[in-house]
């Protein structure tokens, strides 16, 4: 291939092209844009969780700067309808005019030359709301006497799901060990560094609406705007400039965004809304809030026989576009079996509606919970049978000789050696030395422990998988236009959106690998619906495989166009041509790409008779397999816990993972570290509690704790590389994975550390208070037992 051995091909740790502008502070985010006549928007939001709007009093003189629901013309409420059977749909109004269903719901837009003045206007509006009882707890929400959020629904339930396979009754009968547990993952936020942002203006010359949007999916936003506004799609251009993190929360089209775009089109006035941190905590999607009740059956040796689980998801008040809250439940149910051979499985679940911000997909989507559920349970089984948890884990895992392995939940695990990843992780943290240290005790009185958690991560899944999820948009492909320029440089125009994943670098590596165009002469353009062919965007650990595949295809199409031209110039046959080092090489002599480009664009007479001028091709790519390729990983954590205060310190952390062929090891390691950091946040720090009236209690970074640099240990990473059989180069996706295991691995390490006290942690985040409460609860159990004896 063209780029082999150059240091810039597939497998090389190439430095990221995008870092330079960010390190010099020259990135271009939506808030950096300067446009004449721009007005800033501040949203007036509901301070009440559940209520009926009685009146909105706008002071005299401010009426023309305030936009209420009735003022928007040609803009429709969001209606995320899914094909999931029994799904309850409800309109998510752009601006509330009748009921409000969560604190932070947008009610009015206020316009002014500066954000501060726009907030002054918002403050001057008097909002009269008749308060209704708030539904805050997901279990109470589904009781028959709970107040209904959406009248017309019989119950506060978006959807229910049931699944059963294998003979659970037999598992129950044969079990020597039965484990019953309740696990809770509390609600958290996505907390991208840059919040949501949109700038919309009407371009009179082009007669189109231009929307600058901090989004992971500009083409889907264009589609959504055409769906929700009275505008033909050809009159809409969506540009995602630099995007400061997304993690899924920018994989959604929100009411605020449609409202700003609609108003900009309606009044032909450039408008911008920049979400601030408080709004982010109030009204960007939340995530993770799920409750698992699990019963697991195992043999006396710790062999898993069956699992019976009930999953409850707290989805908040509305379904967001496009996917609503229905992915969480389905993915939770699908992923509980994890990397294990499981012969009997029953799962039931429902997704409740509550008076809280809507939930949506956040890095890992549902799998941190599913992983927590099965991995905490495996540890309990191991303890019940008196064995090392990592050994019980290895014995229960799907074996390499069983690959490809179809799980009970119909996921096709393509390849790999799951148990080997556990073994390497155990080596990296040196379990034997942890056990020795535990036997000795710590001088400072802290207790230490080691814990493991493994997962499989379905990545780059295709059309068929998405159809089973019942979602309205099927992101089963990606696209690329590859354009060799007249001077031999190369442009790649892609439909994904890179916001930290380094795809400007890795996609260039792929094209370099295929064509041998020098790496620094390749640019990757993404995030602009006017430039690139339609693409789905960046989410679901898909872009490297999907867009990488599209770049590979387009590059090969381009090569097929280059060869005959080169053959003509070199007087040989096209199949004698090889492409490398920026040139086409024939049996005698070479011609560089600049000459080929020149001929193709401006010296048509040099082209072969049947060759079309220009070198511009477009390819789409879908993986050969619909069910995705499975990355897998085992995390191991060593923690120290202070039994006096409940404080947890991570002493050591190891990640072993297999994402198949690695395009850029430095970027893969960076994704792992970033994901683990977020997982540590999930495990120990991040939470948005609500009080009983539906007020969120963490709405600034003073109340919402993110892990700081000192909380993230150095992370040991080991790779296993089993190339996928159904993707280009054997790549597997891996972007989300780092965030999946940390809650479970850390909870298991705490369980190990606290083994003598009998305390266990079954809820995230494991704050010092929760750790201490678990220790006290275990102590009082012991006291009660002693008193009884």
């Amino acid at each position: 291939m063209g780029g082999e051995g150059s240091g810039f091909g597939i497998g090389d740790a190439v430095r990221r092209k995008e870092d330079r502008r960010h390190l010099f502070g020259r990135g271009q985010f939506t808030a950096d844009l300067r446009i004449p006549r721009l007005q800033e928007v501040a949203f007036l939001r509901s301070p009440i969780a559940h209520g009926r709007i009685r009146a909105i009093h706008v002071p005299e003189g401010l009426r023309d700067r305030v936009v209420l629901a009735g003022d928007l013309r040609g803009a429709r409420s969001i209606r995320a309808v899914t094909d999931a059977p029994g799904f309850n749909a409800a309109d998510f109004p752009l601006l509330a005019s009748d009921k409000v269903l969560f604190v932070g719901q947008p009610v009015a837009m206020c316009l002014a030359p500066s954000r501060a003045e726009a907030e002054d206007i918002a403050q001057a509006i008097d909002l009269e709301i008749d308060e209704l009882p708030a539904v805050v707890d997901m279990e109470a929400a589904v009781r028959p006497d709970a107040p209904l959020l959406h009248e017309g629904w019989g119950r506060n339930v978006f959807l229910t799901r049931e699944f059963e396979a294998g003979d659970l009754e037999r598992a129950r009968a044969e079990a020597a060990v039965t484990i019953e547990r309740t696990y809770r993952l509390n609600r958290q936020a996505g907390v991208s560094m840059e919040g949501r942002a949109i700038l919309a203006h009407w371009d009179d010359r082009l007669d189109e609406l231009v929307v600058w949007n901090s989004t992971q999916m500009p083409h889907q936003v264009r589609y959504a705007l055409a769906l929700h506004l009275d505008l033909d799609e050809h009159r809409i251009r969506v540009v995602a400039p630099d995007v400061g993190g997304g993690f899924g929360l920018k994989n959604i089209v929100y009411p605020e965004e449609i409202a700003v775009a609609a108003l900009a089109a309606q009044v032909r006035q450039p408008l911008r809304w920049i979400e601030d941190r408080r709004e982010h905590f109030l009204a960007s999607i939340h995530c993770r809030e799920t409750l698992y009740n699990v019963t697991a059956f195992a043999t006396a040796e710790g062999r898993l026989l069956g699992v019976d689980v009930t999953v409850q998801v707290d989805a908040g008040a509305y379904a967001t576009w496009p996917n609503g809250p229905n992915m969480e439940l389905g993915m939770a149910i699908k992923n509980v079996p994890g990397p294990y051979r499981l012969e009997a499985y029953r799962a039931r679940g429902w997704t409740a509606a509550t008076n809280k911000a809507p939930i949506g997909p956040y890095r890992g989507v549902a799998r941190p919970g599913a992983c927590f559920c099965i991995e905490r349970t495996i540890d309990e089984i191991a303890r019940a049978v008196g064995r090392e948890p990592h050994e019980v884990r290895m014995e229960n895992m799907v074996r390499p000789d069983q690959m490809p392995y179809r799980s009970l939940t119909n996921m096709l695990y393509d390849n790999g050696d799951y148990a080997e990843s556990v073994r390497i992780a155990a080596d990296l943290v040196d379990v034997a030395s942890v056990r020795a240290r535990q036997a000795q005790g710590e001088a400072d009185g802290r207790l230490i422990g080691v814990g493991f958690a493994a997962y499989t991560e379905q990545t780059a899944h295709g059309c068929g998988e998405w159809i089973t999820r019942g979602v309205p948009i099927i992101p089963g492909y990606e696209s690329c236009t590859a354009r060799l320029m007249s001077d031999g440089s190369l442009q790649l125009l892609v439909g994904i959106q890179s916001h930290g994943q380094g795809l400007e670098t890795t996609l260039a590596q792929v094209a370099h690998h295929e064509l041998g165009v020098p790496f620094e002469r390749i640019s990757v353009r993404h995030g602009d619906s006017a430039l690139s062919p339609f693409g789905m965007g960046t989410f679901a650990s898909r872009s490297m495989v999907m867009a990488g595949g599209a770049v590979a295809r387009a590059s090969r199409m381009l090569a097929a166009r280059i060869r005959p031209i080169a053959a003509q110039l070199l007087q040989c046959t096209p199949d004698a041509i090889t492409l490398r080092d920026g040139a086409a090489h024939g049996p005698q002599g070479s011609v560089d790409f600049a000459e080929i480009g020149r001929v193709a664009y401006v010296r048509q007479e040099g082209l072969p008779r049947d060759a079309a001028p220009t070198l511009d091709v477009t390819a789409t790519y879908s993986p050969e397999i619909d069910t995705g390729v499975f990355c897998y990983s085992t995390h191991a954590a060593v923690v120290a816990v202070d039994p006096g205060t409940g404080t947890v310190e991570i002493l050591d952390y190891a990640v072993v993972e297999d994402c198949g062929t690695i395009v850029n090891p430095m970027i893969v390691d960076g994704q792992i570290v970033g994901g683990v950091a977020q997982g540590i946040g999930n495990a120990l720090y991040e939470e948005i509690p609500y009080d009983t009236s539906g007020q969120p209690l963490a709405t600034t970074l003073a109340d919402y704790l993110l892990p700081g640099a000192p909380a993230i240990p150095g992370i040991k990473i080991a790779h296993m590389c089993t190339p996928a059989e159904h993707t280009e180069y054997g790549m597997k996706g891996m972007g989300e994975g780092g965030a999946i295991s940390p809650p479970a691995a850390i909870a298991n390490a705490l369980r190990d550390a606290l083994a003598d006290t009998g305390a266990e942690l079954c809820e995230t985040p494991m704050t010092p208070r929760r750790v201490l409460a678990a220790i006290l609860a275990a102590e009082s159990r012991i006291h009660a037992r002693e008193a009884a004896e």
């Binding site: 907030e119 404080t647 704790l705 700081g708 704050t767 010092p768 208070r769």
Partner: protein, 279 residues
């Protein structure tokens, strides 16, 4: 998160600051480092009509030894204490505590006076300076007065300060050569506010002040715990149960109910501060 409109005036000296306050229409408020007031303005929790900036008053930045006391201007910054740039009456306690107070960026601007006026029971200075038995010196439109810190902090985020009054300086007795101290802050991450904070100062035989933060609306001077610490010589691990009991006595005397989890954590920080002071 943008503040409501206000008018801004920088004071040259204390008299000027008081004059600016006196002539203000509507609510006037002093601002020092802005590390607490800034966020409150941005969240519109505070909406003064006028901000009077104390940050340019040289006299407030001064710190000097006066006999057996050190007098700090209220505008002294946490970072200056941390860096050991000023006389230290506390035998190393204040610099050590300053180094773990918030983040460096905040310490570069946040002030001793601002912290005492904000009167957060989870903050370092209200607790540590109470243990050190500090006195605050105030200037107001009606003149000057001084108040012992124990009488200054009246409730949660509430002090004895009148709206026009300025904390001019804080004076702290210098610890003797035999004095010892112990300090423990329990917080969820470096730089965060404490969840429990205990400081024990042994001034001399039998003379101990042990203060606990975060348990009640104000920093608590723990009488029973202090007496216990004054009565033992050296540290023994088995004194922990007595500490827990004495702490419960102190909390109920103050009318404060904490649950078993908080009690365990507070007992741990108190015991650690005492251990460091006695061992």
């Amino acid at each position: 998160m943008k503040p409501a409109p206000f008018d801004y005036a920088a004071a040259r000296d204390l008299d000027h600051a008081l004059a600016l306050f006196g002539e203000a229409e509507g609510e006037a408020k002093y601002i020092a480092g802005g590390q607490t007031l800034g966020p409150m303005l941005n969240l519109r929790l505070s909406q003064p009509d006028r901000l009077i900036d104390l940050g340019r008053i040289d006299a407030l930045r001064d710190a000097r030894s006066e006999g057996d006391r050190v007098v700090f201007g209220a505008g002294v910054r946490h970072a200056e204490i941390e860096d050991g740039l000023l006389p230290d009456p506390s035998g190393g306690l204040m610099p050590q505590a300053a180094a773990r107070l918030a983040y460096r960026a905040i310490r570069n601007r946040g002030t001793l006076g601002g912290s005492l006026v904000h009167a957060d029971p989870a903050a370092e200075w209200p607790n540590i300076l109470l243990a050190l038995d500090a006195t605050v010196h105030l200037r107001g439109l009606a003149g000057a007065r001084e108040v012992r810190l124990g009488d200054f902090q009246l409730g949660y985020l509430t002090t004895d300060l009148a709206p026009d009054e300025i904390v001019a300086s804080i004076s702290i007795p210098v610890l003797g050569p035999t004095a010892r101290w112990g300090y423990h802050k329990l917080c969820r991450q470096p730089g965060e506010f404490a969840q429990s904070l205990a400081v024990t100062v042994v001034f001399g035989p039998g003379r101990v002040r042990c203060v606990l933060g975060c348990a009640g609306p104000v920093p608590l001077l723990l009488k029973a715990v202090s007496a216990l610490a004054g009565g033992v010589s050296g540290w023994r691990d088995d004194v922990r149960t007595e500490i827990a009991a004495a702490l419960e006595t102190d909390l109920s005397a103050a009318g404060i109910a904490v649950d078993a989890v908080d009690l365990r954590a507070h007992a741990a920080t108190v015991a650690r501060s005492m251990k460091d002071a006695l061992a």
